[in-house]
């Protein structure tokens, strides 16, 4: 029984408590860039989810074989291979989505969520746990991106999943929410909302858990981070 709840916790922690986007503040680039509509946000989320789960499984399988010194390049190669697969799958079956996400599909390689999970979880845990962890984190990423896409799409073009809403009410949507400033703004408001409703309401800073270079980047947060690489 105890073991079962453990497995469940591994899966659910990424959904809300340790949501990679809204709580850990990881993977900011795709979060801001592709969330111009709910569909794009969800598409990016699912692509990342696929890469994350596959990479977690393979890295967990290889965790005793990969030498510690060259582990980062090894992780990157594994991740890049799966990104390439996803890239071609999207090109073949969902060309419209591929066009909308564009450059950000190959850039999944440098998404710090994936490298972070490889370093912090998959390299230390069994295959099944890593699979659950990848699923949980990936789903957390997906719903956060979908939510942000929905908000920006609604405010920026007055639609939700492509269905006109504001036009029926006779309101003009504010196009700026589709552009760069709107992205930063909505993300800021969302995090503030999470802070408001979370019990401790703690002050959050960028990077940290999972980021390999958190020490260099943000020394104040360094204590809670795994900064091996930066110190070495």
């Amino acid at each position: 029984m105890d073991k079962k709840t453990n497995k469940l916790a591994v899966f659910t922690k990424g959904l809300i408590k340790e949501n990679p986007v809204l709580v850990l503040l990881l993977g900011c680039c795709p979060t801001l860039a592709v969330t111009t509509s709910a569909v794009n946000g969800l598409g990016m989320g699912v692509s990342t989810l696929a890469v994350l789960v596959c990479a977690n499984i393979v890295i967990s399988l290889l965790r005793n074989i990969i030498p510690d010194k060259v582990r980062i390049p090894c992780y990157i190669v594994v991740i890049a291979a799966f990104v390439t697969i996803v890239q071609f799958a999207l090109k073949a079956y969902l060309p419209a989505l591929d066009k909308a996400l564009g450059l950000f599909i190959p850039l999944i390689v440098v998404n710090c969520i994936i490298l972070g999970r490889a370093e912090m979880f998959a390299s230390k845990n069994g295959v099944f746990d890593s699979l659950l962890d990848g699923l949980g984190m990936g789903l957390g990423f997906t719903w956060a991106l979908g939510l942000m896409g929905l908000i920006r799409e609604f405010l920026g073009s007055g639609t939700a999943f492509g269905i006109d809403i504001l036009a029926h009410l006779g309101w003009t949507p504010a196009g700026i929410f589709m552009l760069a400033p709107g992205g930063f703004f909505i993300f800021g408001i969302l995090i503030a909302g999470v802070n408001f409703f979370s019990k401790d309401g703690a002050k959050k800073e960028f990077s940290c858990e999972g980021c390999l270079f958190a020490d260099t980047c943000n020394p104040e947060a360094g204590d809670s981070c795994d900064g091996k690489e930066a110190k070495a």
């Binding site: 440098v110 930063f184 800021g188 503030a192 309401g201 800073e205 960028f206």
Partner: protein
């Protein structure tokens, strides 16, 4: 000549990698707390961007395309960038310790900086020539430096502000400030087209 100038102006101002294209957000938000570290990071990014472009462009056209293995682009480029950064770090450490002291700490960060990988891929998809690619990467680096330095100035003043509501302290207020900075950069859209037609 005007072609190169308009490419550079576009990536510095209208298509700024950070503020318009959302590339390299992590270092933009992470290293912009103090002005001097922002300058160091920006300089290191310019350096790596130019170097990475100088190496990846010929590899794409002379090796990957010739052999018909263009699909390996993502893997090959990220490995090149990672090893280049490592190489630069070691070289600086050995031969130019003072420079290493000021730039060295930022170099490992750049490996996973999506602005560098994004730039090298962009240069290929946009079909730039070798010279255009090099200037585009200089411009992108300058744009990155500009955004970082401006934002560091804003944040230094913001840190001393005590009137921020609790739930907005830290990350949220930083993002709202970034939004305002991005808005001011939107003003430039159309300027480059207006100059170069």
């Amino acid at each position: 000549m005007t072609g190169i100038l308009s490419i550079m102006l576009a990536v510095i101002l209208t298509n700024n990698y950070v503020l318009a294209q959302f590339l390299g957000i992590c270092p933009f938000l992470g290293v912009s707390k103090k002005l001097d570290s922002a300058v160091g990071m920006g300089a290191a990014v310019i350096f790596v961007m130019v170097l990475a472009t100088a190496v990846t462009w010929p590899i794409q056209y002379l090796i990957l395309d010739k052999l018909g293995i263009g699909y390996l682009q993502t893997i090959v480029f990220i490995l090149i960038i990672a090893s280049l950064v490592q190489l630069v770090e070691m070289t600086l450490k050995k031969y130019m310790p003072p420079l290493y002291k000021s730039l060295g700490v930022f170099l490992p960060l750049i490996t996973t900086n999506c602005a560098v990988l994004g730039l090298t891929i962009n240069n290929i998809t946009d079909g730039y020539s070798y010279v255009e690619s090099i200037f585009c990467s200089i411009g992108a680096g300058i744009g990155f430096l500009l955004a970082l330095v401006l934002f560091a100035g804003m944040r230094e003043r913001m840190e001393s502000n005590t009137g921020i509501p609790k739930c907005f302290q830290g990350a949220p207020i930083t993002l709202v400030a970034a939004s305002i900075l991005a808005m001011s950069f939107m003003m430039f859209s159309g300027v480059v087209d207006g100059i170069f037609g």
